[in-house]
Amino acid sequence: MSASGISFRRVSHTYRPKRGAPLLALDGVSLEVREREFLAILGPSGCGKSTLLYLLGGFLPIEAGEILVAGRPITGPGRDRGIVFQSFALYPWKTVRQNVLYGLEKQRRPRRERERRAQELIELVHLNGFEDSYPAQLSGGMKQRVAIARTLATDPEILLMDEPFGALDAQTRALMHEELLAIMRRAPKTVLFVTHDVREAVALADRVAVMSARPGRIKEIVDIRAPGAGRNAMSESASAALVERLWQLVRGEAMLAQGVRA
């Protein structure tokens, strides 16, 4: 097993709300993620795709099945897996620089190196000049760039992204896609990217795992491109065909999730 490959083996998860009956969110999910591949997990809302990510992150206890990273079962959160949330999860009381520094401080790197690395990352996400701003003073796209810089700063081998661009407008989202791909070219990582946006999945991923409506299962895995292949290499028509195919797969599930018979 490679250093940053991931295997989900028959992972199930039951969500227990404070009121009401328990809900089976994930039902025996098995999935292999290759090293340095960009895998998108696509599914209707409520299908448990974020739960899958939180389990891999080590934030929720694994009740059934197991999740291996580099061949070892995970036991809790770890620095090998960085995560970016849809709600940014920035510390509002810290400035941009302090947010980016947080993970580096946890690694106890020498002060000078931390400062240098933080500045590097801030430049990477084009936030020069905003180092001393508080998150409340930034736009949504800028906040998400800070969150990405904070996560990348500690150089995790695996990047978990939970609908990271879901709260952004369409234009900003397109710009963020380009930036993310540029960053990945410079420092390739294993990426698990949760989204409900078919176009986003095709634009970014090497492979797309389509999930079914609750209880979540892997319905199908679609190859988009060879790992590391240029994103521009794909023709318009090939990309449109993939979008159409994924859309057909997701559409039925989305309607099921809404209680409509497909």
Binding site: G78, Y91, K106
Partner: protein, 248 residues
């Protein structure tokens, strides 16, 4: 400048009415001495003889001690309850039972336990202010977005570090609001306790003057306590805004 003057004009109106009403015989001057006499009494009967400083210092010392104690203990207890479930299970029912108790009802027991001196007043303020601090800390710490905790854990922070570096600052807006409530309560409890017991403090001074019929000085004392309470709240608000300057 003109806008500010216009804004506070109603206060001037109130003072003018206070001055005029007893002078033109609308109100018995014994029940409400004209404002100018009250100011005169403040200077000659309270400030110059040193009574105001003596009793004011005593009040301030008791209030600060009780409030500081309640903030330290309340913060620790609230965080512990939010972070360790056994403590939550053991303490929550007690707080639930004590919360509806009107805080002032404890003053007699504090007098019973700590006597007529400062101890009973400090204890009254402490116990009265404790629950607002505990509850705001607990609610603030429980209410924080779980992804904040998760991203700290993913960055490699230990649970203890998460408590200090993430939970406490994230709960700070609610904690500071709770402390503001505690500040207001502390004045109520201290002045109430001083009315009831002892020979020190502004509350004692006011009621002593009232019972002695020195009404101009009594009004001066009442206004002083009201003004100190108001100023304390304004200063605290400034502090709060500074602490939460990261909010926009």
């Amino acid at each position: 400048m003109a806008a500010t003057a216009w804004r506070y004009a109603p206060l001037l109106l109130l003072v003018a009415a206070w001055e005029a009403a007893p002078r033109i015989g609308l109100i018995n001057p014994a029940a409400l001495p004209p404002f100018s006499l009250v100011v005169h009494a403040w200077w000659y009967k309270l400030f110059l003889p040193g009574d105001l400083v003596l009793h004011g210092a005593a009040s301030l010392a008791d209030l600060t001690a009780g409030l500081a104690l309640s903030i330290v203990v309340g913060l620790a207890l609230g965080l512990a309850m939010a972070w360790y479930r056994p403590i939550d299970l053991a303490v929550s029912p007690l707080i639930g039972a004590l919360y509806p108790l009107p805080r002032s009802a404890l003053i007699p027991v504090m007098i019973l336990w700590f006597g007529l001196g400062s101890g009973s007043k400090v204890a009254s303020v402490f116990l009265g202010c404790l629950l607002p601090v505990v509850l705001s800390t607990y609610n603030g710490a429980r209410g924080i977005d779980r992804v904040l905790v998760w991203s700290a854990l993913a960055a490699g922070a230990r649970r203890r570090a998460v408590l200090w570096e993430v939970v406490l600052p994230a709960a700070m807006p609610e904690i500071l609001a709770g402390v503001r409530n505690a500040l207001a309560l502390s004045f109520i409890l201290l002045v109430a306790a001083e009315f009831l017991v002892g020979r020190r403090g502004l509350g004692y001074l006011i009621s002593f003057l009232g019972e002695g019929g020195v009404y101009d000085a009594m009004f001066a004392g009442v206004l002083t306590v009201a003004a100190v309470g108001f100023l304390a709240d304004r200063l605290y608000l400034l502090f709060m805004t500074w602490m939460l300057r990261w909010r926009e």
